[in-house]
Symmetry: C2
Subunit: 120 residues, 2 copies
């Protein structure tokens, strides 16, 4: 995996971790607060591990306050994802470019054949 963006995507590829981020978007929270909604499904150390994944991906920051570890959302890491997505937006925001590209390749590929209008 290795690279930063891959690490970020991998961190987001888990519903528990996404729920944690969502919670943190409302403000700081410490580990046991964040864990509470999941303690029926998994143990506290499991949540700690999820937090570590998020931290390594740079999506949250953990600080110290007595025996608590307040966590804070670090949304700049999400910006990298957003930037990566940018060029693809044209594909779902109705775009002429998209259709353009598509048709170009189709006509190239099927130049030698006669039927080129019956596939879906």
């Amino acid at each position: 995996m290795s690279d930063q963006l891959s690490q970020t995507f991998a961190a987001l590829a888990d519903p528990t971790r996404r729920a944690i981020l969502s919670k943190l978007s409302l403000g700081e929270a410490n580990v046991s607060d964040l864990a509470k909604p999941f303690l029926k499904e998994m143990s506290l150390p499991a949540v700690t591990k999820h937090l570590k994944v998020l931290e390594k991906a740079g999506l949250i920051t953990k600080t110290k306050e007595a025996q608590w570890r307040p966590c804070k959302l670090n949304a700049e890491g999400l910006k990298d994802v957003s930037d990566w997505m940018e060029p693809y937006k044209a594909f779902w925001e109705e775009s002429f470019d998209r259709l353009d590209e598509y048709l170009k390749t189709v006509t190239n590929k099927k130049k030698k054949r006669k039927s080129h209008g019956n596939k879906k």
Copy 2:
């Protein structure tokens, strides 16, 4: 992992797969075309597997044309990612809401302390 969005994020958590999507954004391509840039680093079956991951995530569609398998970008799956990101955008597009939330939690947490204006 299980859910759709997680599967999509997981599929994106690999630079080879992202490169494949990028290539496909320029138009259809069959498997060996897509594999070509990676054949120094990995085998053809490895690429086949990456394509399968992308296909299962709904990010590409593979069709049949004689012995070729033209692949096409399916960017609607990326829209789901984009939608998920939406609420977080406020955090990096300089937003008053964000600062607002942040300060609220900070002042709550540090009510008993005196210094609460020297963080960043």
